[in-house]
């Protein structure tokens, strides 16, 4: 990458008025530490003010700016231009979601599925104080690291099973379900097992690891889903309580 200029090819589509999506090309000056978010912001601020995209925290904590960047779902803020190894960047909206306009997608289907697994904690009534759990007890297994999900939807956009099955809950929601089902403080684990144990739940996952490959937080939803499958089977045998 010797040139000090980036060729950004950006997906444009306004479902209200455009018959077809199109790509617009922009030349953007390269700056140090440039993230793809810098590229789209430069375009919107100084070249074409009508571009639409979503972002908020710009440090990989909010998960608002997931886009399909050079063929892969990524957070625009955490994707350094130089990590792409080319000055030609193609930016598209996250797949598997409806488009509001240009790069801004409607996350509603993602969150509707998220809500299906009852993502909220329901504490056991006898637990009136914060649980005492020693870090070396292994009790939290890998729940804690899996709690770092920022619901950016990268995994949802990468999953080929989501792409081909409209009803599949998808990796993020199943991962969240796992963190609750494995949490011994939670009171409605069996209810959740009954949701994720359906055909549109864990059994739809074919262990392709697409989700893990793209997760900006380096979570491995496939692992959570395998853990859930195990518990679903045990529950059928009446062993999981």
């Amino acid at each position: 990458m010797s040139s000090r200029e980036i060729n950004a090819k950006i997906f444009r589509y306004d479902p209200e008025v455009d018959a077809e999506p199109r790509f617009d090309e922009f030349k953007v000056p390269l700056i140090d530490n440039m993230a793809v978010l810098d590229v789209v912001m430069h375009v919107q601020n100084y070249i074409d003010k009508t571009l639409a995209f979503r972002c908020s925290c710009r440090i990989g904590m909010c998960g608002s700016c997931a886009m399909y960047i050079n063929g892969k779902p990524r957070l625009a803020c955490r994707t350094q231009v130089k990590s792409l190894g080319t000055n030609n960047i193609t930016i598209m909206p996250l797949p598997n979601l409806p488009i509001i306009r240009d790069l801004a997608t409607d996350m509603e289907p993602f969150f509707e599925k998220w809500k299906k697994i009852k993502p909220y904690y329901v504490g056991k009534s006898e637990l009136t104080e914060p649980a005492v759990i020693r870090p070396d007890s292994g009790e939290r297994e890998f729940i804690d690291q899996m709690l770092d999900c920022i619901t950016c939807g990268c995994c949802y956009g990468a999953c080929s099973m989501v792409a081909t099955n409209e009803d599949y809950i998808g990796p993020a929601a199943l991962n969240r379900a796992y963190t609750l089902i494995a949490d011994k403080r939670d009171a409605i684990r069996i209810e959740r097992i009954n949701v994720v144990g359906r055909s549109y739940g864990v059994w739809r996952c074919h262990d392709q690891f697409n989700c893990a490959e793209v997760c900006p937080k380096k979570l491995v939803p496939t692992k959570s889903i395998q853990q859930l499958k195990k518990r679903c089977v045990l529950q059928k045998f009446g062993i999981f309580k």
Partner: protein, 577 residues
């Protein structure tokens, strides 16, 4: 035009807004709540970005008195002591609720109890956390609890309030005019109670930490509606904002725990410069001092080549740093540096507004029907906020706002709004679509960021402040002349939204600059080279600002609320800031 009638309208979905909604529901599940948020729920704003953690007294060896004294001492003693006392007393209940009801699981110590880490400016290790990216879990779990109550809490995402609606007499808020960002639709929410929890406007500085969507909208609306503000000059600069050149990653905070754990601050010459500014506490001094020290070093030509200083963790061992601060290490790695193995360039970064809308301990503002919680409110932190007291404030006062809102909604009737006010607000914000020519908002945005940084920044003086005050008035005028490039595109029009954002920035910036001009002393985060001393004889007072009408600013002062530690005691203690 559509209209929604509701009991409670909540603006914002950070710690304060989410907790307020939760508490309205849990107090009285029959009440209707509309929760409007500028981005996606729980994703926009800064609670989500909380790294370090939340200060709370849990250990019997600690006490709320100590937490209180740390808070007012850190705040240069101009805090509203009733609010600070509320903060420290409600914090344990809040953390309890977060763990037991909301489902958070904070990091544990060896004995299995909640771990508390060291933060600067505190007499006890009392910061609870989830590694070094605590906000993700706190806010994600709160958001999920909102989903559980969706039947009564109507969530409007990517929906912003444009302005508050008031009664004829102007002393009561009855709702807001709203804009759906996705569709461009303008509508009214008519409510018995409005809770404003949209966060501050520190993003108006060239180097700043907050999320991009957070532009002081709530404060600006409250000002236009006539609410009183307190100590707006108090705006915190965090000492360790990452420097990443022109990239928008610049200014993002490297968390306080780094200094708490023993990190060094060094200048371009390799000196631990805190020796010169606070030899006793060194790097664990409060944010105001460490930030100012860094700024002074840079100004004195002892900075790095990119006009920064450095945070150095290397002496603590790479393994320790990587284990304790995985999120920070990863962020720094994005810009090609290794926090665990080399010093990293940082700069003071505009971070948080201590000043804000005046409230009482029930979050009641000076206008009836208007509650304010979190960063948009003022008084809790005085002249400087302690690290870990921010998310503490938003959750503690969010809970309170929810409780108050529920009680008020039960007593109050829904009062009508005035259609002519709705029309006036619509005209004011939609005029940008009507013009074919005018002012480009982005150069104005770039100018205000530079102006605030240079003239209302870490180090201030009367002359610069006066220049800023005059220029901000002009910029407000100019922003009013803005136009959008595509007049027919109201769906997800980022430019139109930025015109509103910049207007709100300028509105809040005027309050900060005017407050700073009035306070002729130095205290906490407010430092003036023409009045370098802290003046406890004359300035143990708060400065109040409000809209005189026509956006002119009226000011008055009152002695501090010193209900627990008197002004006499403060003067006697003679603590140097």
């Amino acid at each position: 035009m559509n209209e929604i009638k509701t009991d409670v309208l909540i603006l914002g979905s950070g710690g304060a807004g989410l907790f307020a909604a939760l508490h309205v529901y849990d107090n009285n599940p029959s009440l209707n709540v509309v929760l409007a948020t500028k981005g996606l729920i729980g994703k926009c704003g800064c609670s989500r970005m909380v790294q370090g953690g939340l200060n709370v007294v849990l250990n019997p060896a600690d006490s709320v008195d100590k937490h209180f004294m740390d808070t007012i001492k850190g705040g240069g003693f101009v805090n509203n002591q009733d609010l600070a006392w509320t903060l420290v007393n409600d914090a344990p209940k809040t953390v309890h609720e977060l763990e037991v009801k909301v489902g958070c699981f904070f990091d544990r110590a060896e004995d299995g109890k909640i771990h508390q880490k060291a933060f600067a400016g505190q007499s006890f290790d009392r910061t609870v956390h989830v590694a070094d990216l605590s906000g993700i879990q706190i806010i994600a779990r709160l958001t999920d609890q909102i989903f559980r109550r969706e039947e009564k809490i109507k969530v409007l995402e990517e929906t912003r309030a444009l302005d508050l609606l008031t009664t004829e007499e102007g002393d009561r808020v009855v709702g807001a005019v709203m804009a759906n960002i996705r569709t461009g639709e303008i509508f009214v929410v008519n409510a018995k109670v409005v809770v404003v929890a949209t966060g501050g406007a520190a993003s108006m500085y060239k180097i700043s930490a907050p999320s991009f969507d957070k532009t002081g909208d709530g404060m600006a609306m409250c000002f236009r509606a006539g609410a009183e503000f307190v100590d707006m000059e108090m705006l915190q600069f965090h000492p360790t904002g990452l420097l990443a050149g022109q990239s928008r990653l610049s200014g993002s905070v490297l968390e306080e725990g780094l200094r708490g754990a023993g990190g060094y601050m060094i200048n371009g010459l390799g000196e631990r410069y805190m020796e010169r500014y606070d030899p006793e506490r060194m790097e664990r001094s409060t944010r105001d001092r460490v930030a100012r020290a860094g700024y002074m070093e840079i100004m004195a030509g002892r900075g790095t080549e990119n006009e920064g200083v450095m945070i150095d963790m290397t002496h603590l061992g790479a393994e320790f740093v990587e284990k304790k601060f995985p999120g920070m290490c990863e962020r720094v790695k994005d810009i090609g540096k290794d926090l665990a193995r080399e010093p990293v360039e940082v700069s003071p970064t505009a971070h948080f507004q201590m000043g804000g809308v005046k409230i009482d301990i029930h979050c009641q503002s000076s206008l009836k029907g208007l509650l304010v919680a979190g960063e948009d409110s003022g008084g809790v932190h005085g002249a400087n906020r302690l690290g870990g007291n921010g998310i503490c404030e938003s959750t503690v006062f969010g809970r309170r706002a929810g409780d108050t809102a529920a009680a008020l909604a039960e007593q109050e009737v829904l009062r009508p709004y005035r259609q002519e006010q709705v029309e006036e607000i619509k005209r004011r914000w939609l005029k940008f679509y009507k013009r074919t020519d005018g002012v480009d908002i982005y150069p104005i945005r770039d100018e205000i960021k530079l102006l605030m940084w240079e003239k209302v920044g870490v180090v201030r003086d009367g002359k610069k402040l006066q220049e800023a005050v005059a220029r901000l008035d002009e910029l407000l005028e100019m922003a009013g002349q803005a136009y959008v490039a595509n007049r027919t595109l109201s769906r997800y029009n980022m430019e139109w939204n930025d015109i509103i954002n910049v207007t709100n920035w300028i509105t809040v910036g005027r309050l900060v600059a005017n407050g700073a001009l009035l306070r002729t002393e130095s205290r906490g985060s407010h430092y003036r080279t023409d009045y370098v001393d802290t003046d406890n004889q004359n300035w143990l007072v708060n400065i109040f600002l409000k809209n005189k009408g026509n956006l002119e600013i009226e000011s008055f002062t009152k002695p501090i609320v010193a209900s627990r530690f008197s002004a006499e005691e403060i003067r006697k203690a003679n603590i140097k800031y």
